[in-house]
Amino acid sequence: MWDIKEYTLHHHFALDRVAIPKITISAMASISLPSICPSAALSFQDKCKEKTNSRSSSKSVLSVKTKSRGQITMAVAVNTSRFDNITMAPPDPILGVSEAFKADTSELKLNLGVGAYRTEELQPYVLKVVKKAENLMLERGENKEYLPIEGLAAFNKATAELLFGADNPILHQQRVATIQGLSGTGSLRVAAALIERYFPGAKVLISSPTWGNHKNIFNDARVPWSEYRYYDPKTVGLDFDGMVADIKAAPEGSFVLLHGCAHNPTGIDPTLEQWEKIADVIQEKNHIPFFDVAYQGFASGSLDEDASSVRMFAARGMELLVAQSYSKNLGLYAERVGAINVLCSSADAAVRVKSQLKRIARPMYSNPPVHGARIVANVVGNPDFFNEWKEEMEMMAGRIKSVRQKLYNNLSAKDKSGKDWSFVLKQIGMISFTGLNKAQSDNMTDKWHVYMTKDGRISLAGLSSAKCEYLADAIIDSYHNVS
């Protein structure tokens, strides 16, 4: 049916958390446009028609398509699949990294693709406080009944308090609509659906670059998006003027997607002063801030500090949206725990918004999974557990900071060119942009067995103290000797 050739799609999505089998796809994979690009105008079948005309390999997509439209005899009907025209989805750029890493037999290999915390021994880590919470839950023998559509009430209360601060007047005023969501992704998706439904035509502005799945989410939710400048390759830092200019230039009433802390994939966060200016221009243009908070506590080590951008915007009286995830900071990756919060100007609006968030969730998954939410509620709700959690989070963030420092020390000591490597220290969080280009990143892998994504992004969570020197050597070599 298909000529399956070796072909790997490169796209600059940095999808750090997904795993699909590594697949080889035919050249016809370019037809699978609906899955990777906004294709609002053309249907999938229209695109098939387009593509068939321009290609020489004449596997008859059209005739197959006609077949599946139902003009069929009885004998053929049963054996013909409707899925004949379905092509392989593009492979995930991150899993490709992990797969290649697995296949590499070198002892020197290092996996810096994984967006999940690793200990110094490079093992996955289940927080002690999580194990305690789970044991408690096991002892209690709680039931497994459906949660309400909006999720576990104790969790919703805890998560809003964690984000905004337990004493924040907006909570007393009941101005925040919160529902439990399927980690960050699911929360973003529900919010995107809300935007599509109530702000038809409104655009979401996303940073360039951003977490790859952001674009998929808004595409599938049929919300148009455009990019604002963010990363400046010259400084390996923030293109602040570009960012402000682009936000200013966007049509009034756009949604601005902001990373609350520990920007993914760059690790570059605005300073407090810059955040204030960003808030200024957003207010000027009547935009709505939409925060993605996936690393609260993980960036600086302090839950409160990492929420300061969100809290500052809230304190200005702005309405805003915030998606939260507990994948990293509580290590609950696979439990899919998060929340979407909509801060409204009145309690009445919050009630209405919450009801509509529920209406979106119901035909998506009915109600969210209970296990992870209970863990969070137990950890946050128990003062001893909560303190333990804060300690463990400081430890995890601390390990990341210390390997950053060690990497920087090695880079400065070993690189005699005088290049300024201090951006390594200025960046924050698990993820960092090295400033390496594709060819240089390839060199990292091919010559040094360091696995990372082609956009120069590394996950410091996968770096051990013992490997810092080796990594520094690899980076210096790739930067200077490869162009």
């Binding site: 899955s35 996955p124 459906y146 899919r336 009915s366 109600n367 209970v370």
Partner: protein, 427 residues
Amino acid sequence: MAIRTAITRRITSSSSSSILFNSRSMSSWWGNVQPAPKDPILGVTEAFLADPSPDKVNVGVGAYRDDNGKPVVLDCVREAERRVAGNLNMEYLPMGGSNKMVEETLKLAYGEDSDLIKDKRIAAIQALSGTGACRIFADFQKRFSPDSQIYIPAPTWSNHHNIWRDANVPQRTFHYYHPESKGLDFASLMDDVKNAPNGSFFLLHACAHNPTGVDPTVEQWKEISYQFKVKGHFAFFDMAYQGFASGDPERDAKSIRIFLEDGHLIGCSQSYAKNMGLYGQRVGCLSLVCEDEKQAVAVKSQLQQLARPMYSNPPVHGALIVSTILGDPDLKQLWLKEVKGMADRIIGMRTSLRENIEKLGSPLSWEHITNQIGMFCYSGMTPEQVDRLTKEFHIYMTRNGRISMAGVTSGNVEYLAKAIHEVTKAA
């Protein structure tokens, strides 16, 4: 707009956090957001919980209760939980979920020795219970058969309508329930199947139809399958109650097996909410039968593409429980025993409810209570009668007259019978 600009300017000029903020003075972005109507099913439980009456009975949502009216966690589940607690890390599952869980789940639907499984012709992913499986399928249908519509039985689980609507797939209904007999309107069903354009997509309940409890007989399923062949229709089975209907999972999958024997390339949604009592864990599976392994790989990759921007990857806890149970012969046996126990209790309550109403001298026929199968009984009561049940007797159920038999106990069956008799005797 002018007001908003003026206000925000005022806020901008005093942008320190010490603004005295009067929430009334600022207009909201969300002014045009109306309160959503309460979900007809889940709203019932909300109302029940708010009722202070000691006599209240909840026969609304389809969640199993034991004879004391308490939620149940199966022994096999408790044991599986013990085994998985704290052992494994919580690393992300692949987008398609737990392979182990999916493998075991396919065996349940397609048969232990299914050739389709051996030949790897089934594209399958772990899904967010039945809802999530249906939704991913609906989105898949929209993406790859954008001109198609879905035929949904009348009536059906109300969320089916929401799912295909939010997926932007136009929907039509086909005849299913026959109010006069409180059974299947088979003739009209077959007419609708015949009259639908060739190659239409149909949603079928594999067993224990929700909300009516009315299932086609084996012979009727065979006829439906044959007619589907003639018309080249696509059958999507929603199987949320395997094991729960008759007590025997193999028997409950009969409709699917008939279609498979006839060579249909079906789709299937499976849920562990009821039959393993994993409601809140959100564990299920979506599967699509393909022509060959290559196609199955391609289709699976596209299913994953739909899942990724919705939730990235599915929750692990419930999947671990399922694969622990189904992967251990002893635990699996225990599960089968417990499922049968649940189904038997429900069948017993059906008999009891019918007998109790008949004992009160009701002029109406109540044989449909025992004819129907699964968790639900379509009582035939009108919305007005249901309202009376709620207002006068504190009995909570959905307004379509659907009774969740799982909520009926030896402790409340007489009270329920009396109430039903009261509101229907004049009818």
